[in-house]
């Protein structure tokens, strides 16, 4: 079938939904048409069947497998979304399902028997979210991260350690601007990296303290000079290892 050969007979989203509801009954639990994207919500039990119907039904003819991926759905668990496209009618269909097993052990049936492209897509979804796909020829080894990587990166409870350890010292950070785009002043905590001006202030303060400590030590040494002592009193403990004026 050549490209867009049947564009004039393409189904509208309502007709697509009606056709699939007719075939699958309660397998289709909902539909969303927003922002030029038509999505059918499918029950996990009908997941493989709906893909098979999309591919094999003459009116749908979804031959091009676009993508399969996961979405974090918060406390309810994870969603798996596939995008299918028909080269003959030009229709696109997104299918979305809520994985069973909640956040602890999400599981979704594999569609590798229907579309070959689902193979690596499901491996990636497992690598990123930890969603198991029974029926997949082999999810391991981890496809994108290092083989011994721990954790499921795209889950919302996986925090980027670099951002936790060292907050970005600049100010154009989404989290640091309030509703109107004004900068929220943030006090640097212990272990935080100082901002650009805070660093200058900190260095100036340190230099001042060092000088004061050196003066005090000198005064103390002058005071002790009367006493007969080898000159390794407090003066020797002043930080003399680094050269003065070294910024």
């Amino acid at each position: 079938m050549s490209v867009l050969a049947r564009r004039d007979r393409a189904l509208t989203p309502d007709e697509t939904e009606a056709l699939l509801r007719d075939r699958l009954g309660d397998g289709i639990v909902g539909a969303t048409l927003a922002h030029r994207t038509f999505t059918l919500h499918v029950a996990p039990s009908a997941w493989v069947e709906v893909h098979r119907r999309c591919r094999d039904e003459d009116l749908l003819d979804m031959d091009l497998f676009d993508s399969l991926f996961g979405v974090d759905a918060g406390d309810d668990g994870f969603d798996v979304v596939t995008v299918l496209y028909s080269t003959s009618t030009g229709n696109r269909l997104c299918l979305r399902t809520r994985c069973e097993g909640g956040r602890e052990a999400p599981v979704c049936p594999s569609v590798t028997d229907v579309y070959r492209g689902a193979d690596w897509m499901e491996r990636e979804t497992w690598d990123m979210y930890g969603i198991e796909f029974p029926g997949h020829p082999g999810l391991e080894p981890r496809i994108l991260t290092v083989e011994n990587f721990e954790g499921w990166p795209l889950r919302k409870d996986f925090h980027l350690t670099s951002r936790v350890v060292k907050p970005w010292p600049g100010v154009k950070e989404p989290a640091e601007l309030d509703e109107d785009g004004n900068v929220i002043e943030r006090e640097a905590g212990v272990g935080d990296a100082p901002g650009p001006y805070a660093l200058d202030e900190a260095m100036a303060k340190q230099a001042l303290e060092r000088r004061r400590a050196a003066e005090e030590a000198l005064a103390a040494a002058a005071g002790n000079a009367a006493a007969v002592e080898v000159g390794d009193g407090p003066a020797a403990d002043a930080p003399t290892s680094e050269p003065e004026g070294d910024a």
Binding site: L144, P153, S162, V165, D246
Partner: protein
């Protein structure tokens, strides 16, 4: 050659010959590799500086140009290839990803800078750096090679494989500690 300090005139000629005959193992990882290739083609052409890009493998290379993001998965491969290179070997870190992690500073799978794995001689900043910047970096490396003493470099490397700075005559503070988390006050103090 690696143990005897040559007399000055011969050392000058020797270093001059070494700096203009660098065989480069182009370890192109990501976008910076495209700018590296652009620097090797006709318009910018680093071959006229004596750097020949097509080394057959690490064992015939003097120079390793790491261009692009180093991921944790790839890091062992870089280390292995670097170890396979015979001394004296030089490393140019090309681009901000290989300098310090670059725009991927907060990623879970990126090594924040190739200098966490291998010692680097010259850092060329940019994202991606212009080919002219690579030429500048190569020239700085050549200045370094001209002024360095090979026995000192080899001895330094044997003593501390991670340090390449001290013997090249650059004014590096030997007490400066290059840790990942910056401490208040760069001169260390109590660090």
């Amino acid at each position: 050659m690696d143990q005897v300090e040559l007399p000055k005139p011969i050392k000058y000629v020797f270093n001059w010959g070494r700096k203009y005959s660098l065989w480069c193992f182009n370890f192109g990882l990501a976008c910076c590799a495209i700018e590296f290739i652009a620097a090797s083609t006709s318009r910018h052409d680093f071959i006229r500086h004596g750097v020949i890009p097509f080394a057959h493998g690490p064992r015939q290379a003097d120079l390793l140009v790491v261009s692009g993001t180093l991921t944790d998965k790839m890091a062992p491969a870089v280390k292995r290839l670097y170890d396979e290179m015979p001394e004296p070997k030089y490393v140019i870190s090309f681009g901000s990803c290989s300098n310090c992690g670059g725009p991927y500073w907060d990623s879970y799978s990126v090594t924040k800078g190739v200098d966490q794995v291998i010692p680097v001689d010259v850092y060329v900043p940019g994202c991606p750096p212009r080919p002219e910047a690579l030429l500048d970096g190569i020239m700085r490396l050549q200045d370094r090679i001209q002024n360095e003493s090979l026995p000192e470099r080899i001895a330094e490397r044997r003593r501390d494989p991670a340090n390449v700075g001290a013997e090249a005559g650059l004014a590096l503070d030997p007490h400066a500690v290059h840790t990942a988390a910056p401490v208040l006050g760069p001169t260390g103090g109590d660090a």
